[in-house]
Amino acid sequence: MSAYRLTRSYHFSAGHRLASAALSDDENARLYGQCFRPHGHNYTVEVTLAGTLDPATGMAGDLGELDRTVERVLLDHVDHYDLSSAVPALDGVITTGENLARAFWGWLAAALPPGRLERVAVVETANNTFEYCGSRSLR
């Protein structure tokens, strides 16, 4: 059982638009409203790790190592890109906050030691947050 949870925030800015390839422009405009128009956000991604305390270091997670991993597998692929057209790993994904949280979880879980990733939150604006924690339940 991991006694600690560590959360670190990252920022990136990216363009996107919400559109389903299965729908016409009119249907997409009706479904997604303003979000159908190309626009962008200053995104915040919160990455939460679970860990146990290493008595030698006093740390339950190495934030420097986490920074390098997040930069390599996430930020380098999305910062100042158009999420809806220029990110191969998001091909075919409607770039809602829900889908981004799941996608980022997948990228990070594959790069971090098994079992360490506890939660990924995509903060799209100060008012909208999307959280994914795999099969865990959120508290």
Binding site: V93, N128, F130, Y132, L138
Partner: protein
């Protein structure tokens, strides 16, 4: 296997007046327990509504946030924004409009509209230093 759910949180704000008074107690007892809170005052509240659900793969969404905004706006914000909470029927029978009681009142207003299984958590901020979370019963 059922796909893992996504948690979606949207923040709303409203401003309201309240004061604390337990009608069963004397003025002196009220002042002793509640202090400055016996005097009518107000707060800028922030209500974070967290939904949980499967992503609709056709839309990529758990719920249309514009619809959420409309539902919460109609059920909670229109009712409590720039209102005296003590005058609301919810708090008329001596139920004190604490943050705890207010978040529960918000839950009772929203759960029937959103579905108790979809409403995961309400977090009500009374001011930037204090919030109460409620997860239903």
């Amino acid at each position: 296997m059922t796909p893992a759910p996504v948690y979606v949180t949207r923040k709303f704000t409203f401003s309201a007046a309240h004061h604390y008074r337990q009608p069963a107690w004397s003025d002196e007892e009220n002042r002793r327990v509640f202090g400055a809170l016996t005097v009518p005052h107000g707060h800028n509240y922030a209500l974070e509504v967290t939904l949980v659900g499967a992503v609709d793969e056709r839309t990529g969404m758990v719920m249309d946030l514009a619809e959420l905004k409309r539902l919460v706006g109609d059920a909670v914000i229109a009712r409590f924004d720039h209102a005296d909470l003590n005058a609301d029927p919810v708090f008329a029978s001596g139920r004190i409009p604490t943050t705890e009681n207010l978040v529960r009142a918000c839950w009772d207003l929203l759960a029937p509209k959103l579905g108790a299984e979809r409403l995961h958590r309400l977090r009500l901020w009374e001011d930037p230093t204090f919030y109460v979370e409620y997860f239903g019963s």
